[in-house]
């Protein structure tokens, strides 16, 4: 799959993960590596970009054991963006599925 294309979808995946919970950067990378073979390290730049775009925010949470960890949390703008993108994505998928099914000989 094309890498740029994949990155766009990854952003949607990240918004989806963050929509309900705050995540630790590492856990996000773990969750994504389960569904795609994208390199572990690429998640962090995307998260940072999303932060610049105001879709997510970060905060440090000081746990009793170990150093403070950086958590990502979704912003209101991020939630709106997720709803929009998710709708577009699902509609797109439906259309693609329909099209492919018509021409697929399998």
């Amino acid at each position: 799959m094309d890498i740029q294309y994949k990155k766009g979808v990854l952003k949607l995946c990240l918004l989806s993960l963050l929509n309900t919970d705050d995540w630790y950067g590492y856990d996000i990378s773990e969750a994504l590596s389960k569904i795609t073979n994208i390199s572990d390290g690429t998640v962090y730049p995307i998260l940072r970009k999303m932060k610049f775009e105001g879709l997510v925010n970060t905060y440090l949470s000081e746990d009793s054991n170990g150093p403070p960890r950086k958590y990502y949390t979704i912003t209101t703008l991020g939630k709106e963006e997720f709803q929009k993108q998710a709708k577009e994505w699902l509609e797109f998928c439906e259309a693609v599925k329909k099209l492919i099914k018509e021409n697929y000989d399998g």
Partner: protein
Amino acid sequence: MDKKGYLSLLRSELKKAGITEIDDILEEYRTHFELKQKKGKTEEEIARKLASPEYIANEYAQSLNITSNNEKFSKITMSIGLGFIDVIMFMVLIIFVGWVIVLGAFSLILLVLSFLLFTNLNIANLIPFIPYYGKLLIGISSLSLCIASFIGTTYCYIYVRQWIRVYLRWHKNILNNRVYPKLSLIPERLTSSIKPRLLMMITFVTSGSFLIISMIIMMIDTNSFEFWHEWNWFQ
């Protein structure tokens, strides 16, 4: 590539790409290594699964281009404003620090004084004549005041230290888009078996009462309200 090599290469690549907040980014990758290692992966394996440092730096550079100019400008104005606040806060905090030092010195002086009184030493004739029982009583008074002010110093020190931390954290947050949690103005409770506040109160009262008792006894002893005249203190 091992962890150290990967991180240092990433650092130089990020620097080359002109990216700010490099430490913040590296921290993310450092934790990634740490947590993967905890799962039993070797450093080489982890580095292989991460993309190459060159690639990652490039990714960061792309994400930065959108807002970098705007970001730079607001950072400059922010730093100037912050500089002014820093000067003012520095002066305020230095007063607090001064207070802690003064209070600490006060308790140290009281400690020396009570030592001199107990041992009946009189260096450079600083202490006027007092019979030894009076010295003992005043010594107890000054020792308890010493303990009270020492506890007071400790309290003030803990609070002032916390306030300095709060200010530094706030300062750091302004420069880092508020990523760190705010600190409380009240320090975390000290876990101690003795209740220092109670001890401070007891020693304070002890100090006052022993001073009064010693005065009264000395007045009775000399048969005069102004016992100091009887002992020619000011001659």
